[in-house]
């Protein structure tokens, strides 16, 4: 298990309920693979430095969690399938 940091950008034009659902969805995804979430930090709506998919705003969410290194690639892939997520990155913090 190593410490990781997942940051992802959700579409800003979604309503509160779908945003919550999307964040919870990611959280359960991590938990289901024996990951442990240390902290989720919602930055909220933020202006993007450059347009992604023709939008200038995004809803930023930062999740600190412990995860097995060999599972990270799979996690990244499944996050990539989610169409509500504009951009994501997983960085190891140790």
């Amino acid at each position: 298990m190593h410490k990781y940091e997942l940051i992802f950008i959700l579409q800003a034009d979604l309503d509160e309920a779908t945003l919550d659902a999307a964040v919870e969805n990611i959280e359960t995804l991590i938990k289901n693979n024996q990951g442990e979430i240390a902290k989720t930090d919602r930055w909220g709506k933020r202006k993007l430095a450059y347009p992604i998919r023709k939008t200038n705003e995004g809803y930023y969410v930062l999740i600190n969690f412990d995860y097995k290194p060999e599972e990270v690639a799979a996690l990244k892939r499944t996050i990539g399938f989610n169409e509500q997520i504009l951009r994501s990155s997983v960085v190891r913090v140790d």
Partner: protein, 107 residues
């Protein structure tokens, strides 16, 4: 054969010309720019390089969005590497632009 030799001489003259030009450029018209002498990350250990810290990283990017060289910021080699990495991470998640000034947009 004699023609070849004359060619050689010509080349040498060219080289001398180039040398002269270099000297001239280095001499007078360059203004002195004072530069930071210490790496701010070495002198302040608490200052962590983090790709999420946009305010900090923004100082290491010029107005066209490029990473500023060490000779301008005074960062040591090791920390410059870390800064560059952090800026690239920040660009990927749209915290910093790949090109252009982002302060203009935000303010």
């Amino acid at each position: 054969m004699t023609e070849y030799r004359s060619n050689d001489r010509g080349d040498r003259n060219d080289r001398n010309d180039r040398g002269d030009r270099g000297d001239r450029g280095g001499n007078r018209n360059r203004r002195f720019v004072s530069r930071p002498k210490f790496c701010q990350f070495c002198s302040d250990k608490k200052l962590a390089i983090d790709y999420k810290n946009v305010e900090l990283l923004g100082r290491f990017v010029n107005e066209t969005g490029k990473i500023r060289p060490r000779r301008q910021t005074g960062t040591c080699a090791r920390h410059q590497r870390e800064v560059a990495k952090a800026i690239k991470n920040a660009r990927h998640i749209a915290l910093l632009p790949f090109e252009g000034d982002f302060w203009v947009d935000n303010n």
